[in-house]
């Protein structure tokens, strides 16, 4: 069964450093998402991406964040200058064009020191 994959599974970085989180969505999916989950809290929407552009973003997704689909398979989230409060699990999700169900990857645990 196809699934969303994410790398790395864990990332530790120093405050102020740039990080890139990578996702490979399910191959025939057209809509891509990033969510985050701070420890012990609920999953929060960050951004959605369709047809090579952002279709919606939340207040969390400020100028420090960017997304890119550099090729036909990868979908990345970049945090330009990490802050302590960026420490969280980051989940990538994708869905088909006709369906609404979003399928989630296993997440990347980001720890900013």
């Amino acid at each position: 069964e196809p699934e969303v994959t994410q790398t790395p599974s864990h990332q530790v970085t120093q405050m102020g450093q740039e990080v890139i989180l990578r996702c490979v969505p399910i191959s025939n999916h057209l809509y891509f998402y990033w969510y985050r989950q701070i420890l012990g809290q609920k999953v929060e929407f960050l951004v959605s991406f369709y047809n090579n552009e952002i279709s919606e973003k939340s207040e969390i997704f400020d100028d420090q964040f960017s997304v890119e689909r550099p090729d036909g398979s990868n979908f990345t989230l970049k945090i330009r200058s990490t802050k302590l409060e960026d420490s969280a699990m980051y989940f990538c999700a994708s869905r088909t064009g006709g369906g609404e169900t979003q399928y989630f990857g296993p997440g990347t645990r980001l720890l900013v020191l």
Binding site: Y33, K42, E56
Partner: protein
């Protein structure tokens, strides 16, 4: 506003019993609802969904009930098993792109 917190509501059930997990949603414009299961250290896993034009949908061992009048969603798990132990989230979609997740309920299955 949305409620967040470090302590999840917990439901403890005996193995073999039925579980009912509840969720209140806030957006009356939401037309699609999903239940996700999240095991420790993993991403949300799709369980079952329901559209706003339905009030009940059944899957394998799971049933989702939707009451739009009181904006309430429930997930029923029949014959709960140890492998069902996880955090369960409801999520809603109001025709847009994003899912809005609830706080989550920790289900603990006791042997």
């Amino acid at each position: 506003g949305e409620s967040v917190g470090l302590h999840l509501p917990t439901l403890s059930v005996q193995e073999g019993d039925n579980s009912i997990i509840n969720c209140a949603y806030s957006n009356s414009a939401s037309d699609y609802f999903i239940w996700y299961k999240q095991e420790s250290g993993k991403g949300p896993q799709f369980i079952i969904d329901i559209r706003s034009n339905m009030d009940k949908r059944q899957g394998q061992r799971v049933t989702v009930l939707l009451n739009k009048t009181v904006k309430h969603l429930s997930l029923q798990i029949a014959a709960t098993q140890p492998g069902d132990s996880a955090v369960y989230f409801c999520a809603e979609n109001d025709r847009g792109n994003k899912l809005t997740f609830g706080t989550g309920t920790q289900l603990k299955v006791e042997l």
